[in-house]
């Protein structure tokens, strides 16, 4: 028998007990051939192409999942940013296009389709503006469409006008979905340095440099890393911690790449569409389930709670070790690849917020060394637009200066204040409303573009 007894049990334990799974197999579809000056033509082409291309996506992923005994939690779709294929569209045209996306996603059986997006790090076209203006109405009218807007980049700087529009879109989306805890904002994310091969919603989109149809895979295994860190005990030094996490990341990345490649092959055979395997996204992604938490890993590393002195350093060890182990395991690593620290989706993060151990400001510091940014954070419903814009600018400045992806997914929960909680259910979890500084920030409304940063003298 070429398989080692211990290895088999180790694998089964990871899958059965420690929640290791493939978090998402995301089918990226280019919609560049769907462009037209006529709104109804764009809608029809987009709807048909998604239905045709993704018809077998869920079935194939389920079959591969059964064959390998690895749970694939989500089967999703990312598409070319729709502002690129419908630049002449009005606000109502974009809403109608978004509704067609929602219908296509429902038809092929996916819960989210992402790429209702615009890339405006340097400037906005009329179509980009219309798309951003249409977001609140679309988030209220649909359940499966996810929107994202790239407002800045290291190369171009930060588009302050786009940030202001996005802050307004977030506030308005919260108001329009007030009856459901402002859940529309959970499907809406603003970026700096967004990437085109991110398989995770809400920020996924099919980048303009991508092939026609691509499978990208997001793996997840906070529970597995937690066990290995706990097994190490309190006497292991930083180097041993990093080494152990690296070894674990290697294993889960290899499983992710295998499943992604097999999904691409099987879909290619089933449809005759030239589906390519793209990347494995290494991001450790928590879920609201107990034992599937990034925060618990940090606590197991030796913190009384998240927010204790040393939190940022612990997260740095974790994120870096995951990347090193993953890069050893696969030559095709991409997407966001780090550690997600969404508040509402991580039980340890929720507890830390409820105990007052962590603030938005500390979370902001943590995002400078992990992937993504201020994610799934509930804030008071009466938070002014200029404060939301200011938080976005702060977060994007971290991304711009450090040449990394950062994002903001805030939920100003309509009618709720600090001390209250909003419960979204499912993978989105629940979020205690966190306080936001009451200090005013007319600075954020100045508009224009923050210049691109210098790339030398980097201290």
């Amino acid at each position: 028998m070429s398989i080692d007894f211990r290895e088999v049990l180790d694998t089964v334990q990871m899958l059965e007990v420690e929640h290791f799974d493939i978090r998402t197999v995301t089918l990226g579809i280019s919609l560049r051939d769907c462009a037209s000056r006529l709104p109804q033509t764009v809608r029809a082409r987009v709807y048909d192409k998604i239905r045709r291309t993704a018809a077998q996506h869920v079935r194939v992923a389920d079959e591969i999942s059964a064959q390998y005994g690895v749970r694939i939690v989500n089967k999703r779709i990312s598409i070319t940013p729709v502002s690129l294929i419908h630049d002449g569209g009005s606000v109502s045209d974009f809403v109608a296009l978004g509704e067609a996306l929602d219908a296509a996603a429902a038809d092929v059986g996916v819960d989210y389709i992402a790429g209702y997006s615009a890339l405006v790090d340097k400037g906005m076209t009329p179509g980009d503006r219309a798309l951003i203006d249409s977001i609140p109405a679309l988030m209220a009218a649909t359940s499966r469409v996810c929107a994202s807007v790239n407002c800045g980049s290291t190369r171009a700087g930060i588009n302050g006008d786009a940030v202001s529009k996005m802050a307004r879109a977030v506030r308005e989306t919260a108001r329009r979905t007030a009856d459901k805890g402002s859940i529309g904002c959970a499907k809406l994310v603003a970026f700096c340095n967004a990437v085109g091969d991110n398989p995770f919603v809400a920020g996924a989109f099919h980048g303009i440099g991508e092939a026609e149809v691509v499978i990208n895979v997001g793996i997840s295994g906070p529970g597995v890393v937690l066990r290995t860190v706990r097994d190490l005990g309190p006497d292991a030094d930083f180097g041993e911690l990093a080494e152990t996490i690296k070894r674990t990341a290697f294993k889960i990345t290899r499983a992710g790449e295998l499943v992604g490649r097999r999904c691409a092959e099987a879909l290619r055979e089933a449809t005759s569409i030239p589906v390519q395997f793209g990347v494995v996204d290494l991001s450790l992604a928590p879920t609201p389930e107990e034992g599937d938490s990034i925060g618990d890993i940090l606590i197991a590393m030796g913190l009384e709670d998240i927010g204790a002195p040393g939190t940022t350093a612990a997260l740095a060890i974790l994120t870096d070790a995951v990347k090193k182990g993953g890069l050893m395991a696969s030559s095709y690593v991409g997407g966001l690849s780090g550690a997600f620290i969404p508040v509402s989706e991580d039980q340890a993060m929720i507890r830390a917020v409820e105990r007052g151990h962590i603030s938005i400001e500390k979370l902001e510091a943590m995002t400078s060394i992990c992937s993504v940014g201020l994610d799934m954070i509930a804030i008071p419903g009466d938070t002014p637009e200029e404060s939301i814009a200011g938080i976005m600018l702060d977060e994007f400045a971290i991304g711009m200066i450090n040449n990394k992806t950062t994002s903001v997914r805030l939920i100003p929960v309509e009618g709720k204040d600090v001390g209250e909680t909003v419960d979204f259910g499912g993978l989105l979890g629940r979020a205690p409303v966190m306080p936001v500084s009451k200090l005013r920030s007319p600075f954020s409304a100045r508009g224009g573009r923050i210049p691109a940063p210098i790339r030398s003298l980097t201290n």
Binding site: M1, E7, V70, K251, R254, A255
Partner: protein
């Protein structure tokens, strides 16, 4: 190609070799092929839970009846709990049927049963 075909080719190309030499060569080749197999058609069955007499026989019956060839079996028992690992050659109907049957057995016996393609283990634990 079956093993008889390999023997015939070796006997034809090496007419001076003795029957023992041909047999020895075939055995060595089979060993190499077995070691380097990609695991295209092999799966690992893992069953674990509270030990009871006859559980190995029950699992073996389910796997065999589903048309799979059992290549190797390993079992460990510790403090009343058992872990059983079985390497199988997947039959023409794939692993779907045996997964369903094992799920039923697992439910009636209050144990856990998992069937996974061998490639998964090779990917996770081999460079």
């Amino acid at each position: 190609m079956d093993i008889r075909g390999v023997v015939d080719i070796l006997a034809k190309n090496f007419p001076d070799a003795s029957a023992d030499q041909v047999e020895q060569t075939v055995a060595e080749l089979a060993g190499i092929i077995g070691e380097t197999a990609t695991g295209e058609d092999r799966a690992i069955v893992t069953v674990y839970g509270r030990d009871r007499p006859g559980i190995l026989a029950s699992v073996t019956a389910v796997v065999s009846n589903a048309g799979h060839n059992i290549l190797d079996v390993s079992q460990k028992i510790l403090q009343g709990y058992f872990a059983l690992i079985m390497l199988i050659e997947v039959g023409e109907h794939g692993v779907g049927a045996v997964q369903d049957e094992l799920a039923r057995l697992a439910e009636s016996e209050s144990v856990r049963a998992v069937v996974q393609h061998e490639q998964l283990f090779n990917a996770m634990h081999r460079l």
